[in-house]
Symmetry: C2
Subunit: 295 residues, 2 copies
Protein backbone atom coordinates (compact mmCIF):
# COMPACT_ATOMS: atom_id res chain seq x y z
CA UNK A 1 0.00 0.00 0.00
CA UNK A 2 1.31 3.47 -0.82
CA UNK A 3 0.91 6.76 1.04
CA UNK A 4 -1.81 8.04 -1.27
CA UNK A 5 -4.13 5.11 -0.64
CA UNK A 6 -3.45 5.07 3.12
CA UNK A 7 -4.07 8.81 3.59
CA UNK A 8 -2.43 11.31 5.89
CA UNK A 9 -4.36 10.71 9.13
CA UNK A 10 -3.86 6.93 9.03
CA UNK A 11 -0.19 7.33 8.12
CA UNK A 12 0.39 9.61 11.10
CA UNK A 13 -1.52 7.22 13.36
CA UNK A 14 0.67 4.33 12.17
CA UNK A 15 3.93 6.22 12.58
CA UNK A 16 3.23 7.71 15.98
CA UNK A 17 2.19 4.51 17.75
CA UNK A 18 4.67 3.58 20.47
CA UNK A 19 7.27 6.26 19.77
CA UNK A 20 10.14 6.52 22.26
CA UNK A 21 9.14 8.98 25.00
CA UNK A 22 10.45 10.58 28.20
CA UNK A 23 8.87 11.39 31.53
CA UNK A 24 8.73 15.12 30.74
CA UNK A 25 6.55 14.66 27.63
CA UNK A 26 3.01 15.82 28.46
CA UNK A 27 1.67 15.62 24.89
CA UNK A 28 3.46 14.15 21.89
CA UNK A 29 2.01 13.79 18.36
CA UNK A 30 -1.72 14.42 17.89
CA UNK A 31 -2.15 18.01 19.06
CA UNK A 32 -1.19 21.33 17.45
CA UNK A 33 2.12 21.24 19.35
CA UNK A 34 4.08 18.86 21.53
CA UNK A 35 4.00 19.85 25.20
CA UNK A 36 7.05 19.36 27.42
CA UNK A 37 7.37 19.87 31.16
CA UNK A 38 6.99 18.32 34.57
CA UNK A 39 3.45 17.97 35.96
CA UNK A 40 4.25 20.62 38.58
CA UNK A 41 6.20 23.06 36.39
CA UNK A 42 4.48 26.44 36.22
CA UNK A 43 5.37 26.85 32.53
CA UNK A 44 5.35 24.18 29.87
CA UNK A 45 7.37 24.27 26.66
CA UNK A 46 5.76 23.90 23.24
CA UNK A 47 7.38 22.46 20.09
CA UNK A 48 6.11 22.52 16.54
CA UNK A 49 7.55 21.68 13.13
CA UNK A 50 5.77 22.56 9.91
CA UNK A 51 6.69 22.70 6.23
CA UNK A 52 5.48 24.65 3.23
CA UNK A 53 6.43 23.40 -0.23
CA UNK A 54 6.25 24.93 -3.68
CA UNK A 55 3.44 23.36 -5.67
CA UNK A 56 1.63 22.24 -2.49
CA UNK A 57 1.33 25.33 -0.27
CA UNK A 58 2.29 28.06 -2.74
CA UNK A 59 2.70 28.58 -6.48
CA UNK A 60 6.13 28.85 -8.13
CA UNK A 61 5.21 32.38 -9.22
CA UNK A 62 4.38 33.57 -5.71
CA UNK A 63 6.12 36.53 -4.07
CA UNK A 64 8.49 34.78 -1.65
CA UNK A 65 8.08 37.51 0.96
CA UNK A 66 4.50 36.28 1.39
CA UNK A 67 5.69 32.66 1.47
CA UNK A 68 8.15 33.48 4.26
CA UNK A 69 5.40 35.21 6.22
CA UNK A 70 3.12 32.21 5.75
CA UNK A 71 5.77 29.65 6.69
CA UNK A 72 6.41 31.20 10.10
CA UNK A 73 2.82 32.30 10.78
CA UNK A 74 1.49 28.76 10.32
CA UNK A 75 3.65 27.60 13.22
CA UNK A 76 2.76 30.69 15.29
CA UNK A 77 -0.90 29.78 14.74
CA UNK A 78 -0.24 26.33 16.24
CA UNK A 79 1.46 27.81 19.31
CA UNK A 80 -1.49 30.22 19.69
CA UNK A 81 -3.91 27.27 19.51
CA UNK A 82 -2.32 25.84 22.68
CA UNK A 83 -2.76 29.18 24.48
CA UNK A 84 1.00 29.81 24.29
CA UNK A 85 3.47 32.44 23.16
CA UNK A 86 6.05 31.75 20.43
CA UNK A 87 9.76 32.11 21.22
CA UNK A 88 12.50 30.64 18.97
CA UNK A 89 12.45 29.53 15.34
CA UNK A 90 14.76 27.37 13.21
CA UNK A 91 14.47 27.50 9.42
CA UNK A 92 15.37 24.53 7.18
CA UNK A 93 15.46 25.46 3.53
CA UNK A 94 15.63 23.07 0.56
CA UNK A 95 16.40 25.10 -2.55
CA UNK A 96 17.60 24.38 -6.08
CA UNK A 97 21.19 25.53 -6.77
CA UNK A 98 19.90 27.63 -9.68
CA UNK A 99 17.70 29.74 -7.43
CA UNK A 100 18.56 33.43 -7.31
CA UNK A 101 20.02 34.68 -4.03
CA UNK A 102 17.58 37.61 -4.16
CA UNK A 103 14.70 35.13 -4.06
CA UNK A 104 16.00 33.49 -0.89
CA UNK A 105 16.50 36.93 0.60
CA UNK A 106 12.87 37.80 -0.22
CA UNK A 107 11.77 34.63 1.58
CA UNK A 108 13.85 35.63 4.60
CA UNK A 109 12.40 39.16 4.50
CA UNK A 110 8.96 37.59 5.01
CA UNK A 111 10.24 35.33 7.78
CA UNK A 112 11.89 38.28 9.54
CA UNK A 113 8.77 40.43 9.28
CA UNK A 114 6.63 37.73 10.89
CA UNK A 115 9.29 37.07 13.55
CA UNK A 116 9.48 40.77 14.52
CA UNK A 117 5.72 41.16 14.54
CA UNK A 118 5.16 38.25 16.93
CA UNK A 119 8.29 38.46 19.10
CA UNK A 120 10.07 35.41 17.67
CA UNK A 121 13.88 35.03 17.53
CA UNK A 122 15.22 33.21 14.46
CA UNK A 123 18.10 31.28 16.02
CA UNK A 124 19.35 29.02 13.29
CA UNK A 125 18.71 26.98 10.25
CA UNK A 126 19.97 24.77 7.57
CA UNK A 127 20.14 24.85 3.79
CA UNK A 128 20.20 21.84 1.48
CA UNK A 129 20.07 21.39 -2.27
CA UNK A 130 16.70 20.37 -3.69
CA UNK A 131 15.75 18.91 -7.04
CA UNK A 132 14.04 22.02 -8.33
CA UNK A 133 11.31 22.79 -5.82
CA UNK A 134 11.66 25.13 -2.88
CA UNK A 135 10.50 24.02 0.54
CA UNK A 136 10.73 25.70 3.92
CA UNK A 137 10.48 23.74 7.16
CA UNK A 138 9.96 25.91 10.24
CA UNK A 139 10.44 24.66 13.77
CA UNK A 140 9.06 26.92 16.45
CA UNK A 141 9.33 26.74 20.22
CA UNK A 142 7.01 28.47 22.62
CA UNK A 143 5.81 28.30 26.17
CA UNK A 144 2.56 28.47 28.07
CA UNK A 145 1.56 28.71 31.71
CA UNK A 146 0.51 25.22 32.76
CA UNK A 147 -2.85 26.62 33.88
CA UNK A 148 -3.47 28.16 30.46
CA UNK A 149 -2.41 25.27 28.24
CA UNK A 150 -5.33 24.12 26.04
CA UNK A 151 -5.28 20.73 24.33
CA UNK A 152 -7.49 19.28 21.61
CA UNK A 153 -8.33 16.29 23.70
CA UNK A 154 -10.01 17.81 26.76
CA UNK A 155 -13.36 18.92 25.32
CA UNK A 156 -16.49 17.52 27.03
CA UNK A 157 -19.99 16.66 25.88
CA UNK A 158 -22.16 19.78 26.13
CA UNK A 159 -19.32 22.23 25.43
CA UNK A 160 -20.20 25.01 23.04
CA UNK A 161 -18.15 25.27 19.82
CA UNK A 162 -16.90 28.62 18.52
CA UNK A 163 -14.83 29.77 15.56
CA UNK A 164 -13.11 33.11 15.07
CA UNK A 165 -13.30 35.05 11.80
CA UNK A 166 -14.85 33.79 8.58
CA UNK A 167 -14.08 30.61 6.69
CA UNK A 168 -13.48 29.57 3.07
CA UNK A 169 -11.90 30.99 -0.05
CA UNK A 170 -8.41 31.32 1.47
CA UNK A 171 -6.80 30.56 -1.89
CA UNK A 172 -7.71 34.10 -3.05
CA UNK A 173 -4.90 35.42 -0.84
CA UNK A 174 -5.74 34.86 2.84
CA UNK A 175 -3.61 31.67 2.92
CA UNK A 176 -0.51 33.84 2.40
CA UNK A 177 -1.44 36.97 4.34
CA UNK A 178 -3.34 35.65 7.36
CA UNK A 179 -2.58 36.92 10.81
CA UNK A 180 -2.27 34.14 13.38
CA UNK A 181 -4.78 34.62 16.21
CA UNK A 182 -2.11 34.95 18.87
CA UNK A 183 -3.48 38.01 20.67
CA UNK A 184 -6.98 36.57 20.61
CA UNK A 185 -5.93 33.15 21.92
CA UNK A 186 -3.90 34.71 24.74
CA UNK A 187 -6.81 36.94 25.72
CA UNK A 188 -9.09 33.91 25.66
CA UNK A 189 -6.94 31.73 27.97
CA UNK A 190 -6.28 34.65 30.32
CA UNK A 191 -10.00 35.47 30.73
CA UNK A 192 -11.76 32.14 30.14
CA UNK A 193 -11.12 28.42 30.35
CA UNK A 194 -11.55 27.04 26.85
CA UNK A 195 -11.72 23.26 27.25
CA UNK A 196 -10.27 22.33 23.87
CA UNK A 197 -8.80 24.38 21.04
CA UNK A 198 -7.03 24.01 17.67
CA UNK A 199 -6.31 26.16 14.66
CA UNK A 200 -8.12 25.49 11.39
CA UNK A 201 -5.58 24.52 8.76
CA UNK A 202 -7.29 21.72 6.80
CA UNK A 203 -10.82 23.15 6.91
CA UNK A 204 -13.54 22.93 9.56
CA UNK A 205 -14.93 19.83 7.83
CA UNK A 206 -11.68 17.93 8.56
CA UNK A 207 -10.55 19.68 11.73
CA UNK A 208 -13.75 19.67 13.81
CA UNK A 209 -14.02 15.87 13.61
CA UNK A 210 -10.37 15.69 14.73
CA UNK A 211 -11.00 17.87 17.78
CA UNK A 212 -14.15 15.92 18.68
CA UNK A 213 -12.45 12.55 18.18
CA UNK A 214 -9.41 13.60 20.25
CA UNK A 215 -11.83 14.56 23.04
CA UNK A 216 -13.74 11.28 22.75
CA UNK A 217 -16.86 13.21 21.71
CA UNK A 218 -19.20 13.60 18.80
CA UNK A 219 -20.47 16.98 17.65
CA UNK A 220 -23.45 18.80 16.28
CA UNK A 221 -22.57 21.45 13.71
CA UNK A 222 -25.10 24.12 12.77
CA UNK A 223 -24.05 24.62 9.17
CA UNK A 224 -26.29 27.65 8.76
CA UNK A 225 -24.31 29.38 11.49
CA UNK A 226 -20.85 28.76 9.99
CA UNK A 227 -19.37 32.21 9.19
CA UNK A 228 -18.47 32.28 5.50
CA UNK A 229 -16.21 34.63 3.64
CA UNK A 230 -17.78 36.73 0.89
CA UNK A 231 -18.81 34.69 -2.17
CA UNK A 232 -18.10 31.40 -0.40
CA UNK A 233 -20.46 28.42 -0.27
CA UNK A 234 -20.81 26.30 2.85
CA UNK A 235 -18.79 23.58 1.07
CA UNK A 236 -15.92 26.03 0.63
CA UNK A 237 -16.18 27.22 4.23
CA UNK A 238 -15.93 23.61 5.40
CA UNK A 239 -13.46 22.26 2.88
CA UNK A 240 -11.10 24.90 1.49
CA UNK A 241 -8.78 24.93 4.48
CA UNK A 242 -5.95 27.32 5.35
CA UNK A 243 -8.27 29.58 7.35
CA UNK A 244 -5.91 29.72 10.35
CA UNK A 245 -8.81 30.70 12.57
CA UNK A 246 -9.33 29.30 16.07
CA UNK A 247 -11.83 26.53 16.78
CA UNK A 248 -12.55 25.96 20.45
CA UNK A 249 -14.94 24.31 22.88
CA UNK A 250 -16.00 26.01 26.08
CA UNK A 251 -18.40 25.25 28.92
CA UNK A 252 -21.96 26.57 28.33
CA UNK A 253 -21.87 28.81 31.42
CA UNK A 254 -18.78 30.58 30.03
CA UNK A 255 -20.10 30.72 26.46
CA UNK A 256 -22.75 33.35 27.11
CA UNK A 257 -20.38 35.61 29.03
CA UNK A 258 -17.80 35.23 26.25
CA UNK A 259 -20.30 36.21 23.55
CA UNK A 260 -20.86 39.53 25.24
CA UNK A 261 -17.25 40.34 26.12
CA UNK A 262 -15.57 39.27 22.84
CA UNK A 263 -16.95 42.11 20.65
CA UNK A 264 -15.63 44.68 23.15
CA UNK A 265 -12.16 43.11 23.08
CA UNK A 266 -12.09 42.41 19.32
CA UNK A 267 -14.65 44.60 17.57
CA UNK A 268 -13.34 43.75 14.09
CA UNK A 269 -13.13 39.97 14.42
CA UNK A 270 -16.37 37.98 14.59
CA UNK A 271 -16.72 35.12 17.04
CA UNK A 272 -19.44 32.64 16.09
CA UNK A 273 -21.17 29.86 18.00
CA UNK A 274 -21.37 26.99 15.50
CA UNK A 275 -22.45 23.95 17.50
CA UNK A 276 -21.75 21.71 20.47
CA UNK A 277 -19.72 18.68 21.43
CA UNK A 278 -21.94 15.66 22.10
CA UNK A 279 -21.58 12.47 24.08
CA UNK A 280 -21.70 10.15 21.13
CA UNK A 281 -19.51 9.96 18.07
CA UNK A 282 -21.76 11.45 15.39
CA UNK A 283 -20.93 12.41 11.83
CA UNK A 284 -21.07 15.79 10.20
CA UNK A 285 -24.23 15.68 8.13
CA UNK A 286 -22.67 17.32 5.14
CA UNK A 287 -19.73 15.26 3.91
CA UNK A 288 -16.65 17.40 3.47
CA UNK A 289 -13.29 15.82 3.79
CA UNK A 290 -11.01 18.85 4.08
CA UNK A 291 -7.44 18.61 2.91
CA UNK A 292 -5.41 15.39 2.84
CA UNK A 293 -1.74 15.84 1.92
CA UNK A 294 -1.49 12.54 0.09
CA UNK A 295 -4.94 12.43 -1.59
Amino acid sequence: MNLKSLGEDRLIAALTRGLPSRSDVRVAAGDDCAVIGGPRDLRWRLLKTDAVAEGVHFLPTEDLRRVGWKALCRAISDIAAMGGVPEHALIALAAPPTMEVAQVQALYAGLRRAARKFGVAIVGGETTRSQGRLSVTVTLTGSVERAHCVLRSTGRAGDVLFVTGRLGGSIAGHHLDFKPRLTEARWLVEHYRPRAMMDLSDGLGADLPRLAKASGCGYLLDESAVPKNRNCTIAQALGDGEDYELLFAIAPREATRLESSWPKAFPKLPLTRIGTLTGKITALRRKSAGYDHFA
Copy 2:
Protein backbone atom coordinates in the same frame (compact mmCIF):
# COMPACT_ATOMS: atom_id res chain seq x y z
CA MET B 1 23.62 35.63 -8.69
CA ASN B 2 22.32 32.14 -7.90
CA LEU B 3 22.91 29.90 -4.86
CA LYS B 4 25.46 27.73 -6.62
CA SER B 5 27.79 30.62 -7.44
CA LEU B 6 27.39 32.25 -4.01
CA GLY B 7 28.08 29.01 -2.05
CA GLU B 8 26.67 27.75 1.21
CA ASP B 9 28.84 29.62 3.73
CA ARG B 10 28.27 33.01 2.11
CA LEU B 11 24.56 32.33 1.72
CA ILE B 12 24.22 31.50 5.41
CA ALA B 13 26.26 34.58 6.35
CA ALA B 14 23.95 36.76 4.21
CA LEU B 15 20.75 35.25 5.61
CA THR B 16 21.72 35.29 9.27
CA ARG B 17 22.84 38.93 9.47
CA GLY B 18 20.55 40.93 11.73
CA LEU B 19 17.95 38.26 12.39
CA PRO B 20 15.29 39.09 14.97
CA SER B 21 16.53 37.97 18.41
CA ARG B 22 15.48 37.87 22.07
CA SER B 23 17.32 38.50 25.32
CA ASP B 24 17.47 34.77 26.14
CA VAL B 25 19.39 33.86 22.97
CA ARG B 26 23.00 33.09 23.94
CA VAL B 27 24.07 31.76 20.52
CA ALA B 28 22.03 31.89 17.32
CA ALA B 29 23.22 30.73 13.87
CA GLY B 30 26.91 29.90 13.44
CA ASP B 31 27.49 27.11 15.94
CA ASP B 32 26.47 23.44 15.94
CA CYS B 33 23.31 24.37 17.85
CA ALA B 34 21.46 27.47 18.98
CA VAL B 35 21.83 28.09 22.72
CA ILE B 36 18.94 29.50 24.75
CA GLY B 37 18.92 30.59 28.39
CA GLY B 38 19.50 33.41 30.81
CA PRO B 39 23.14 34.25 31.68
CA ARG B 40 22.57 32.93 35.22
CA ASP B 41 20.51 29.84 34.39
CA LEU B 42 22.28 26.64 35.48
CA ARG B 43 21.12 24.76 32.38
CA TRP B 44 20.90 26.10 28.86
CA ARG B 45 18.65 24.73 26.13
CA LEU B 46 20.00 23.61 22.75
CA LEU B 47 18.14 23.65 19.43
CA LYS B 48 19.14 22.11 16.12
CA THR B 49 17.44 21.49 12.78
CA ASP B 50 19.00 19.31 10.11
CA ALA B 51 17.81 17.67 6.89
CA VAL B 52 18.82 14.61 4.88
CA ALA B 53 17.59 14.33 1.31
CA GLU B 54 17.54 11.49 -1.20
CA GLY B 55 20.17 12.06 -3.86
CA VAL B 56 22.18 14.37 -1.58
CA HIS B 57 22.70 12.47 1.68
CA PHE B 58 21.61 8.98 0.65
CA LEU B 59 20.94 6.96 -2.49
CA PRO B 60 17.39 6.09 -3.62
CA THR B 61 18.29 2.41 -3.21
CA GLU B 62 19.40 2.78 0.40
CA ASP B 63 17.83 0.81 3.26
CA LEU B 64 15.63 3.43 4.90
CA ARG B 65 16.28 2.03 8.36
CA ARG B 66 19.84 3.28 7.97
CA VAL B 67 18.61 6.62 6.64
CA GLY B 68 16.38 7.07 9.69
CA TRP B 69 19.29 6.28 11.99
CA LYS B 70 21.49 8.77 10.14
CA ALA B 71 18.86 11.53 10.13
CA LEU B 72 18.51 11.55 13.91
CA CYS B 73 22.16 10.77 14.72
CA ARG B 74 23.39 13.77 12.73
CA ALA B 75 21.44 16.07 15.05
CA ILE B 76 22.52 14.10 18.14
CA SER B 77 26.12 14.64 17.01
CA ASP B 78 25.50 18.41 16.98
CA ILE B 79 24.07 18.36 20.49
CA ALA B 80 27.08 16.28 21.63
CA ALA B 81 29.43 18.84 20.07
CA MET B 82 28.05 21.50 22.47
CA GLY B 83 28.67 19.18 25.45
CA GLY B 84 24.91 18.61 25.80
CA VAL B 85 22.41 15.78 26.05
CA PRO B 86 19.62 15.31 23.48
CA GLU B 87 15.98 15.38 24.62
CA HIS B 88 13.08 15.84 22.16
CA ALA B 89 12.84 15.34 18.41
CA LEU B 90 10.35 16.45 15.76
CA ILE B 91 10.37 14.75 12.35
CA ALA B 92 9.24 16.54 9.16
CA LEU B 93 8.89 14.17 6.24
CA ALA B 94 8.48 15.11 2.58
CA ALA B 95 7.50 11.98 0.65
CA PRO B 96 6.04 11.18 -2.76
CA PRO B 97 2.42 9.91 -2.64
CA THR B 98 3.53 6.78 -4.52
CA MET B 99 5.92 5.76 -1.75
CA GLU B 100 5.14 2.45 -0.03
CA VAL B 101 3.95 2.73 3.56
CA ALA B 102 6.41 -0.04 4.48
CA GLN B 103 9.25 2.22 3.32
CA VAL B 104 8.16 5.05 5.60
CA GLN B 105 7.83 2.54 8.43
CA ALA B 106 11.39 1.36 7.77
CA LEU B 107 12.57 4.96 8.01
CA TYR B 108 10.76 5.33 11.31
CA ALA B 109 12.24 2.08 12.59
CA GLY B 110 15.68 3.66 12.14
CA LEU B 111 14.58 6.88 13.80
CA ARG B 112 13.11 4.95 16.75
CA ARG B 113 16.24 2.84 17.18
CA ALA B 114 18.45 5.93 17.35
CA ALA B 115 15.98 7.67 19.68
CA ARG B 116 15.92 4.72 22.12
CA LYS B 117 19.69 4.30 22.02
CA PHE B 118 20.36 7.94 22.94
CA GLY B 119 17.39 8.69 25.22
CA VAL B 120 15.48 10.91 22.79
CA ALA B 121 11.67 11.26 22.77
CA ILE B 122 10.08 11.67 19.34
CA VAL B 123 7.29 14.11 20.17
CA GLY B 124 5.80 15.06 16.85
CA GLY B 125 6.21 15.64 13.21
CA GLU B 126 4.71 16.54 9.94
CA THR B 127 4.24 14.91 6.57
CA THR B 128 3.97 16.68 3.22
CA ARG B 129 3.81 15.54 -0.36
CA SER B 130 7.05 15.82 -2.32
CA GLN B 131 7.71 15.73 -6.05
CA GLY B 132 9.38 12.33 -6.06
CA ARG B 133 12.31 12.64 -3.67
CA LEU B 134 12.21 11.75 0.01
CA SER B 135 13.61 14.17 2.57
CA VAL B 136 13.65 14.04 6.34
CA THR B 137 14.11 17.17 8.45
CA VAL B 138 14.89 16.47 12.09
CA THR B 139 14.64 19.07 14.82
CA LEU B 140 16.26 18.11 18.09
CA THR B 141 16.26 19.85 21.45
CA GLY B 142 18.78 19.24 24.18
CA SER B 143 20.24 20.83 27.24
CA VAL B 144 23.62 21.40 28.80
CA GLU B 145 24.88 22.67 32.14
CA ARG B 146 25.97 26.28 31.58
CA ALA B 147 29.41 25.40 32.93
CA HIS B 148 29.81 22.57 30.40
CA CYS B 149 28.54 24.30 27.26
CA VAL B 150 31.27 24.39 24.59
CA LEU B 151 31.05 26.78 21.64
CA ARG B 152 33.03 26.93 18.40
CA SER B 153 33.97 30.52 19.00
CA THR B 154 35.90 30.36 22.27
CA GLY B 155 39.16 28.71 21.20
CA ARG B 156 42.38 30.62 21.93
CA ALA B 157 45.75 30.88 20.28
CA GLY B 158 47.98 28.12 21.63
CA ASP B 159 45.16 25.65 22.23
CA VAL B 160 45.90 22.10 21.14
CA LEU B 161 43.62 20.58 18.48
CA PHE B 162 42.34 17.01 18.78
CA VAL B 163 40.07 14.76 16.72
CA THR B 164 38.38 11.54 17.79
CA GLY B 165 38.35 8.44 15.62
CA ARG B 166 39.64 8.21 12.05
CA LEU B 167 38.69 10.35 9.07
CA GLY B 168 37.81 9.80 5.40
CA GLY B 169 36.01 7.25 3.29
CA SER B 170 32.66 7.60 5.05
CA ILE B 171 30.78 6.94 1.80
CA ALA B 172 31.67 3.23 2.17
CA GLY B 173 29.04 3.01 4.91
CA HIS B 174 30.14 5.00 7.96
CA HIS B 175 27.98 7.97 6.89
CA LEU B 176 24.87 5.83 7.52
CA ASP B 177 26.01 3.78 10.52
CA PHE B 178 28.10 6.19 12.56
CA LYS B 179 27.61 6.47 16.29
CA PRO B 180 27.45 10.08 17.47
CA ARG B 181 30.18 10.79 20.05
CA LEU B 182 27.71 11.63 22.80
CA THR B 183 29.25 9.56 25.60
CA GLU B 184 32.73 10.79 24.70
CA ALA B 185 31.72 14.46 24.55
CA ARG B 186 29.93 14.25 27.90
CA TRP B 187 32.95 12.57 29.50
CA LEU B 188 35.17 15.28 28.02
CA VAL B 189 33.15 18.24 29.37
CA GLU B 190 32.72 16.59 32.76
CA HIS B 191 36.47 15.93 33.20
CA TYR B 192 38.12 18.69 31.15
CA ARG B 193 37.44 22.16 29.86
CA PRO B 194 37.59 21.97 26.08
CA ARG B 195 37.71 25.57 24.87
CA ALA B 196 36.02 25.04 21.51
CA MET B 197 34.37 22.03 19.90
CA MET B 198 32.37 21.00 16.83
CA ASP B 199 31.45 17.81 15.03
CA LEU B 200 33.02 17.03 11.66
CA SER B 201 30.27 16.88 9.05
CA ASP B 202 31.77 18.58 5.99
CA GLY B 203 35.33 17.28 6.41
CA LEU B 204 38.24 18.52 8.53
CA GLY B 205 39.43 20.62 5.59
CA ALA B 206 36.22 22.68 5.70
CA ASP B 207 35.36 22.42 9.38
CA LEU B 208 38.70 23.23 11.03
CA PRO B 209 38.90 26.62 9.25
CA ARG B 210 35.34 27.30 10.47
CA LEU B 211 36.22 26.57 14.09
CA ALA B 212 39.40 28.66 13.85
CA LYS B 213 37.61 31.56 12.15
CA ALA B 214 34.75 31.50 14.68
CA SER B 215 37.39 31.73 17.44
CA GLY B 216 39.21 34.58 15.68
CA CYS B 217 42.28 32.35 15.31
CA GLY B 218 44.41 30.77 12.65
CA TYR B 219 45.64 27.20 12.90
CA LEU B 220 48.53 24.91 12.20
CA LEU B 221 47.53 21.47 11.03
CA ASP B 222 50.02 18.59 11.07
CA GLU B 223 48.71 16.67 8.10
CA SER B 224 50.97 13.71 8.82
CA ALA B 225 49.21 13.30 12.16
CA VAL B 226 45.64 13.28 10.80
CA PRO B 227 44.17 9.84 11.64
CA LYS B 228 43.01 8.26 8.38
CA ASN B 229 40.65 5.39 7.84
CA ARG B 230 42.05 2.33 6.10
CA ASN B 231 42.83 2.88 2.40
CA CYS B 232 42.18 6.63 2.68
CA THR B 233 44.50 9.35 1.39
CA ILE B 234 45.04 12.59 3.32
CA ALA B 235 42.85 14.34 0.72
CA GLN B 236 40.01 11.98 1.55
CA ALA B 237 40.53 12.39 5.29
CA LEU B 238 40.33 16.16 4.87
CA GLY B 239 37.64 16.38 2.22
CA ASP B 240 35.23 13.43 2.22
CA GLY B 241 33.13 14.69 5.11
CA GLU B 242 30.43 12.89 7.12
CA ASP B 243 32.93 11.64 9.67
CA TYR B 244 30.81 12.80 12.64
CA GLU B 245 33.88 12.77 14.85
CA LEU B 246 34.62 15.50 17.40
CA LEU B 247 37.12 18.27 16.71
CA PHE B 248 38.11 20.28 19.75
CA ALA B 249 40.63 22.77 21.09
CA ILE B 250 41.96 22.52 24.63
CA ALA B 251 44.56 24.35 26.70
CA PRO B 252 48.08 22.83 26.44
CA ARG B 253 48.29 22.07 30.18
CA GLU B 254 45.11 19.94 29.89
CA ALA B 255 46.16 18.33 26.60
CA THR B 256 48.89 16.18 28.09
CA ARG B 257 46.71 14.94 30.94
CA LEU B 258 43.93 14.18 28.46
CA GLU B 259 46.23 12.14 26.23
CA SER B 260 46.98 9.80 29.10
CA SER B 261 43.44 9.47 30.49
CA TRP B 262 41.52 9.13 27.21
CA PRO B 263 42.77 5.62 26.27
CA LYS B 264 41.70 4.35 29.71
CA ALA B 265 38.20 5.78 29.26
CA PHE B 266 37.82 4.86 25.57
CA PRO B 267 40.29 2.11 24.69
CA LYS B 268 38.70 1.47 21.30
CA LEU B 269 38.46 5.04 20.03
CA PRO B 270 41.67 6.86 19.15
CA LEU B 271 42.15 10.48 20.15
CA THR B 272 44.74 12.31 18.06
CA ARG B 273 46.57 15.60 18.51
CA ILE B 274 46.53 17.17 15.04
CA GLY B 275 47.72 20.74 15.51
CA THR B 276 47.20 24.03 17.33
CA LEU B 277 45.21 27.21 17.10
CA THR B 278 47.41 30.20 16.30
CA GLY B 279 47.15 33.92 16.82
CA LYS B 280 47.05 34.82 13.18
CA ILE B 281 44.62 33.77 10.49
CA THR B 282 46.66 31.28 8.45
CA ALA B 283 45.57 28.99 5.68
CA LEU B 284 45.64 25.21 5.56
CA ARG B 285 48.62 24.43 3.38
CA ARG B 286 46.85 21.71 1.49
CA LYS B 287 43.78 23.11 -0.25
CA SER B 288 40.73 21.00 0.49
CA ALA B 289 37.35 22.62 0.31
CA GLY B 290 35.18 20.01 2.03
CA TYR B 291 31.54 19.79 1.15
CA ASP B 292 29.45 22.73 -0.10
CA HIS B 293 25.75 21.98 -0.46
CA PHE B 294 25.30 24.20 -3.50
CA ALA B 295 28.59 23.53 -5.31
